[in-house]
Symmetry: none
């Protein structure tokens, strides 16, 4: 799994970044200060480092220089300061990229992938790009891989079933009416709502240990269906 170290003193931002990266399939760990980050990277090197510029104690620029001193890890600055001087200084210090907060997670991961292409030949083999996975107990759904697993074992589902499952997983814990599901999975404006029942039934046969008493894909009578942990 691809590991990312996030050095950021603001607890809220650090946590948000960590969660978002984990959602995208990265193994993300945080550090609140430059010193802590440097220690973490020496002890257990991540594949990428994200670093804020304004840190208490050792600042971001110094942190980048120290990281660079003994590590070729790709470094991305994530800073609130949108100033050419800072950007140039950070890149000169050894950073590979510079993003201004607030960052879109999709852009961040796209930039990490772009960096990976470049960094690939340097160290060992290519750290394979992680595939995001949504987990529901022993049930794992990976939209990017087009794969569903139960207890680690792949389950063969059809395209419609997969879309349906992804739609439910994306709104996990919330009820989706048959109308909404028809709309989102089939693109129908109107149509036979029973169709959803049939596909939910087929899906249950495949992903529920006991399809008769569903644990994850549950019916809410009169309302619709819901996927829960």
């Amino acid at each position: 799994m691809t590991a990312v170290l996030v050095i950021e003193d603001d607890d809220r931002i650090r946590l948000a970044l960590l969660l978002a990266l984990q959602d995208e399939g990265y193994d993300a760990v945080g550090a609140a200060t430059a010193e802590e980050g440097l220690r973490a990277q020496r002890r257990d090197p991540a594949d990428y480092v994200l670093v804020d510029l304004m840190l208490p104690g050792l600042d971001g620029f110094e942190c980048i220089r120290q990281l660079r001193r003994d590590d070729d890890v790709p470094i991305v600055v994530v800073s609130a300061r949108d100033d050419t001087h800072d950007i140039v200084a950070a890149l000169e210090a050894g950073a590979d990229d510079y993003l201004v907060k607030p960052v879109a997670i999709k852009e961040l991961t796209a930039r990490l992938r772009a960096l990976r292409r470049r960094a690939r030949a340097v160290v060992g083999g290519p750290a394979a790009e992680p595939v995001p996975v949504l987990a529901f107990g022993e049930l794992e759904i990976s939209p990017d891989a087009g794969e569903v697993r139960r207890g680690g074992r792949p389950v063969a589902v059809t395209r419609t079933e997969f879309r349906l499952l992804c739609e439910l997983a994306e709104h996990a814990g919330r009820v989706l009416s048959r109308q909404q599901l028809l709309q989102r999975v089939w693109g129908y404006d109107i149509g036979d709502e029973r169709l959803v029942d049939v596909h939910v039934g087929r899906l249950r046969q495949k992903i529920e240990p006991d399809p008769a008493t569903p644990r994850h894909l549950v019916t809410l009578r009169g309302m619709g269906y819901k996927l829960q942990r």
Copy 2:
């Protein structure tokens, strides 16, 4: 001297970029269309390419893909559009960085220098450094060496098959739709998706022990193809 190719249709902006780059000591040349830029790069390869996204005729995304097809030159997008979708799409297409107009020339050159560090690390590394190899069970692919092996034995694949395989390998574990593959391997915007089937079939004959029941290059009905371990 370091050469930069600037592909940008707006005369004023192109000229301003060229002058600014020349002031900074670069040997900068311009192209007003993607076609012109591609020709120029083939004829006389620059060390960096800057490209706008909104170009008449062939657009920037397509331009990037075509550049990437046979060139590892660092590509920086310089666009007026500040939209996550565009940024992600450009980076996915093969760009290394994305700047939003108006760009500060100091930032631009700092980013070019940062890219050069990475680009040099790739080519100029110690000669003994092993060529990166992507492995899928007994299947080995070296994108740089243009080689495919099965159980250590070289397998003869054609250029198209090789590109297709590399594209799949680069996104190992993820489904790629026929559209995406057409787009990335052939550069088609639209086209017959069955073409992909045929080449996948031919590839399977060569790399799968039992082509009838593929283990690595698998079909996901209704979704596309995926390369897995």
